[in-house]
Amino acid sequence: MASTSLPLVVDNLSFRYRDRQGAAIHNLSFTANPGEVLLIAGASGCGKTTLVRCINGLIPRSYKGEMSGKILVFGGEVKDWKLSQISQKIGTVLQDPERQILGTKVVNEVAFGLENLGMPRGEIYSRVDEALNFLKISQLRNRDTFSLSGGEKQKVALAGVLAMRPSIVLLDEPLASLDPASAQDTLDAVRLLADQGLSILMVEHRVEDVLRIKPERVMFMSEGEIRYLGDVSGLSKVVNYREVKLPAEDIIERAKLDPPPAEIKVLPGVTRSLSSDEALVRFENVAFGYESEVEILHGIDLQINRGDVIAVLGPNGAGKTTFVKHAIGLLKPKSGKVFVGGRDTTEASVAEIASMLGYVFQSPSHMLFAPTVREELAFGPTNMKHTKEQIELEVKEALKIVNLSEKENDPPLALSFGQQKRVSIAAILAMRSRILVMDEPTAGQDYQNYMNFMDSILQMPAFEAIIFITHDVDLAAIYANRVLIIADGRLIADGKPQDVLRDFDRLKANRIIPTSLLALNLKRLSTTGRFMRAEALAHI
């Protein structure tokens, strides 16, 4: 199987982490060709990240365990190489650019690897400029890295890898935290790299997005094994369309053969009222800035009513999180007022507002602390003085919704990222607040899991309104009955999904890219009267 001409040959590779039972990957064999994009898809825990770590050398150097099989790079076995040698052949861009960027200035960040190799300064500068030019981000050269947007950070991280002139680039979920337009920019850059002759291995949940750049091959993994490896056209035939998000047309084609999905009864505990007096949350001309001179939110005026399921869309850094943090009183407006349940947030503590409005933070690692998942979930309700019996019931139900009932006694910090995220959602669900606010609930989750928990959350009778921030246009189209677009700290659009999402020019101007599902829904709107998921469209 080994060939000295191929950039990468993986031969019968298996690995088991030292502290875990069962192998994370079993007997994987494949090659990567020059000039190709190989998309690696699969649910959380299927072994994608382990495979990436084996190839880039972090396994077995940083992560210990039992490894067997071979990885050959241009015929050389990487097991015998130093990490510095590997890093010159194989570049890795991690899932979250925030975790990868070390330099304070863009130029220092891109130069970091070259500095470590002890190259002369002139050579470093010329390679840095080359990488920045290639990715069309030369204008960022002297910017502070922490001031970059999510998309810019991802490209800077990629430039840092490219400057080392690798032959193989590994991308581990590079789109997870990006708005659709930034994701598209990153994908275009990746395509360009492959067209220049590099081998690209891209691990990604957002399969539909990656398919736009026409990857040469797709690998589908499940339970540490390769289930499919071949061209794109064969993928939709072998994978479960409920596990991997395929283009809407493909899902419709496949779903026709299955029974129609069950109808979802959104917020069953609410009878819709249009009375303005009953606003759950009211923003009155709210402006905010972290520093006195710079304003981030400008003149936000809106109210959230019973029965609202609101999707908040907008570019990275647009002020979406700042906006929702005002609703729970974590931030107080610089001017204007925010009322929650009729109470001014400047006059109530966050803990008091929490009984009315539950807020799920973006990052689970900032809140998990308890020795077991059960105790973690009981923390909020206990603070809110719920009775013991109530808490037990709330914890059980929340665990069921996020599909973690069997992990009740596990330490939350030992779970995978996706599971931790679900624990963080369940922790807020257990509080039974009247309004639920979620900041990017699906980021880093696999398709099947997030669709399931979104279905369950929307059908919970306890909530009177739900707000979620997302970059996933389909999620907004399927679940929301109201869509907000926030850009540059302003409310650009507020209305029904079918009204807000039909204006493609406005979407594109706000870095939102229409999807195949949205296009299909708009086409069939006169028949359906509302937006539906692809599985439901298949039966109309």
């Binding site: 150097r61 690897g113 300064r121 080392m164 974590l330 809140m367 998990l368 602390f369 923390f379």
Partner: protein, 289 residues
């Protein structure tokens, strides 16, 4: 991701007109010199230097107000505590001249609280205030004035090996990052009805109740460090001598500043060896009590 301190280039800033290495050397010289004195007459010049540096730094009051008030409040608190209890100063003076004594009208388990105001305690409090304030002012200005992009090369330029210099760079940036993570965790737990200000119970119970803050912050710091190590490993850090992209060059004024710093330190050491600079109380004042 590591965040940086609120550094920016400031017009006409005295500190920023120097090479960061020269400034660090000068700062260390002043720091060691200040710490070698207890005599308020010797400490006053350092207080003047600190104030001069503060006023010419170009740092706006609103930028440092919180940090400054916190530190000065802290220094005041301890100076007053030492003054009231008389502990702490006993290492530098043996004899006390009583100005006034206040005896409580009650006893606790046979012990009657007594407040003695002595000349030595009063002067010790003044010396302590001047000494610590001088150091605090000089230290507070560092993150606002030194370019974070130069942390690594500054320490490398001061003679530290590559790995240590980069570790210092990361450490300097870890502090504000830790602060940001702490705030995020506080917010996340407050959103779950947790109120730090309402923590009650005994000491151990109170410490236990801080778990929701300290566990995530600590775990986050550990995971963050692992990510940093991975990111460094993947780009060949530590495989050999590294090139530092930025170059710092000493100018004439930098050499002068270093010379002044070294001169101050040398003078302080000599003065110290000659027996000067120890705790001082005016003779006349002692004679009065």
């Amino acid at each position: 991701m590591l965040v940086a301190w609120r550094y920016r280039i400031r017009e006409n800033s005295f500190i920023q007109s120097f090479d960061p290495r020269a400034w660090v050397i000068f700062y260390v010289c002043c720091l060691v010199s200040t710490l070698s004195f207890w005599d308020v007459r010797f400490l006053l010049p350092f207080f003047v230097i600190a104030m001069f540096v503060l006023l010419t730094s170009g740092v706006k009051w609103h930028e440092i107000r919180r940090a400054f008030l916190f530190i000065v409040g802290f220094v005041f608190f301890f100076a007053i505590l030492t003054f009231l209890t008389g502990r702490g100063g006993t290492e530098v003076y043996k004899q006390e001249h009583l100005i006034r004594e206040f005896r409580a009208s009650f006893s606790l388990l046979g012990w009657t609280p007594v407040l003695k105001i002595t000349v030595e305690r009063a002067f010790f409090a003044i010396s302590q205030l001047v000494r610590v304030t001088s150091i605090a002012v000089m230290t507070i200005l560092i993150p606002y004035s030194l370019n974070p992009a130069y942390y690594g090369i500054t320490f490398k330029g001061l003679g530290l090996p590559d790995k240590f210099a980069y570790a210092m760079d990361l450490t300097m940036r870890f502090i504000p990052t830790f602060g940001r993570d702490f705030q995020l965790t506080m917010d996340a737990q407050r959103a779950r009805g947790y109120e730090l200000e309402k923590i009650s119970g005994g000491l151990i119970a109170q410490v236990r109740k801080l778990g929701p803050i300290f566990v995530p912050v600590t775990i986050h710091a550990i995971i963050g460090s692992e990510d940093i190590i991975d990111a460094m490993d993947l780009r060949a850090f530590g495989v050999g001598p590294r090139t530092w992209l930025d170059v710092l060059t000493y100018q004439r004024r930098d050499r002068i500043l270093i010379a002044v710093g070294v001169a101050i330190l040398s003078a302080s050491i000599v003065v110290g060896f000659m027996g000067y600079g120890k705790f001082w109380v005016p003779e006349a004042l002692m004679g009065m009590f």
